[in-house]
Amino acid sequence: MPEVTLLVFRSNQASNIVAKFGYAVRGGRIIDSHGKRARCANCQRELTVDHLGRVMPGSYELLCDDLICFNAYAVRLVE
C-alpha cells in the first residue's frame, strides 16, 4: 500500500477547497466544470459543501462524509 498523507480541513473550509479544484458552489451545492452537480465517487449522492467529506487522489475524487464511503476508495490502494 502506498503511503497516504491526509490533510485535515474544517467544514467551513470546504467551499475554498472545492473552488481550488475547479468546482463552483451554488446555494451550497457543488457544481463541476460541466455545470453538473458533483456526486460522491462512491455512493453517488449529490454533494453539498456541508456533506463534502474528502478530496482523494485519483482524478481529484470527491467523497461525501459517510464514513464507509472511504473504504471504497481505500481498497483501491491495495496492490
Binding site: 498523507t5 490533510l7 480541513f9 474544517r10 481550488k20 478530496v55 487522489p57 464507509i68 472511504f70 481498497v75
Partner: protein
C-alpha cells in the same frame, strides 16, 4: 518542494522532528493538520495547529495538496476533521491486513472487498474498546451491504477467514490460475452463505462435539442447512466420520423425518487439504 517536505519544514519550525521518532497516535477533534507516516508497520500521526493547516491549504496549489495516483507512490488527500479519524483508522486496519486484502482482491467481488475493508475497520474499533463506533458501523455495514456484509464481518472477526481460507489464498498468490481463483471464490461464497450456523472444526474439537453441534443446530436452532468446514487431512477425516455418526443417530431418533442430503466439496492444494460439507434437511437445500 513537495507537500511532505513542506510539512516536515513546518513541523521543524514548531520544534518537532518527525523523522522516525514519533510513535504515538493522536487524534484531535478541533481541527488542524494530520500527517501520517509509515515506518514498517508503525503509523505516526502528527497534529499541528489549525492555523498552520489553514495557511497550507490556502497557499498551496491543488496539485500540491492532492497528488494524482499515477504521479507518486505517496498519496496526499484531504479529509474533513470529523471523518479523518475514521479514515486514518481504516488505512491503519488495511495496512495491518494488506497481505490478506491483496489476496482477497484477486478472488472476491469489489463490493465484498469493500465490506471486508469495513469489517477490518470495525474490528479495529472493537479492539480499541470504542463501543459506540463499533455498534454504529455494524449497523451501517448491514444497511449498505446487507446480510452478506454482516456475514463477511462475522467470518473475518471470528478469525475463521484467515485460519481456513489463507492457505488456499496462498496458492492463488503462487499460481493465480483461473482454477485456483475459482476454487478459493467457491469456498469463500459457501462459507459466507452458511456463516450463521456453520460449524468450524479445528484440531481440539472432538468427534462427539461435532455431532452435538450438528444436532443442536438442526433440533434447537431448527435450521435447514448447516455448513461444516475444516482443514488438514486428520480434520477432514474427523468431519466425515462425525457427519456419518450424526446421520446414523438421526435415523434412530427421528424415524418420521425425511433425512438429510450431504454435499461434500474437498480441496487438495499442495499439502493443504480442506473440506466444506453442507448438510441439508431433505428437500430444503435452499435453506428455506
Amino acid at each position: 518542494m513537495s507537500v511532505r517536505e513542506r510539512l516536515k519544514d513546518l513541523l521543524k519550525i514548531a520544534g518537532i522532528d518527525i523523522e522516525g521518532h514519533l510513535l504515538n497516535f493522536q487524534s484531535r477533534q478541533s481541527g488542524g493538520l494530520s500527517l501520517k507516516q509509515r515506518a514498517k508497520t508503525i503509523l505516526n500521526i502528527v497534529v499541528v495547529d489549525p492555523d498552520a493547516s489553514k495557511s497550507l491549504i490556502e497557499s498551496a496549489k491543488p496539485h500540491e495538496i492532492v497528488v494524482r495516483e499515477d504521479e507518486k507512490k505517496e498519496l496526499v488527500g484531504l479529509s474533513r476533521v470529523d471523518t479523518a479519524g475514521y479514515d486514518l483508522l481504516a488505512l491503519a486496519a488495511q495496512n495491518e491486513e494488506q497481505r490478506l486484502l491483496r489476496l482477497m482482491a484477486k478472488v472476491i467481488e469489489p463490493e465484498d472487498l469493500q465490506a471486508l475493508s469495513i469489517a477490518m475497520t470495525i474490528r479495529k474499533y472493537e479492539r480499541l474498546g470504542k463501543a459506540d463506533m463499533f455498534a454504529r458501523l455494524r449497523r451501517k455495514l448491514r444497511l449498505t451491504y446487507g446480510e452478506r456484509g454482516n456475514r463477511i464481518y462475522v467470518f473475518y472477526s471470528s478469525g475463521l477467514l484467515k485460519e481456513f481460507l489463507e492457505p488456499l489464498l496462498v496458492w492463488v498468490e503462487i499460481t493465480p490460475t483461473p482454477t485456483d481463483i475459482d476454487r478459493a471464490r467457491r469456498v469463500f461464497d459457501r462459507c459466507i452463505e452458511h456463516m450463521d450456523y456453520a460449524v468450524y472444526v479445528n484440531a481440539p474439537m472432538t468427534h462427539e462435539t461435532i455431532v452435538e453441534q450438528l444436532a443442536y443446530r438442526f433440533r434447537v436452532d431448527r435450521v435447514a442447512v448447516v455448513l461444516v468446514f475444516g482443514r488438514s487431512r486428520a480434520i477432514v477425516h474427523k468431519i466425515r466420520k462425525a457427519v456419518a455418526t450424526f446421520i446414523e443417530n438421526e435415523k434412530e431418533h427421528q424415524l418420521d423425518q425425511m433425512g438429510y442430503d450431504v454435499r461434500e466439496e474437498s480441496f487438495a492444494v499442495g499439502d493443504v487439504e480442506a473440506l466444506t460439507l453442507t448438510i441439508a434437511v431433505k428437500g430444503r437445500e435452499d435453506g428455506k
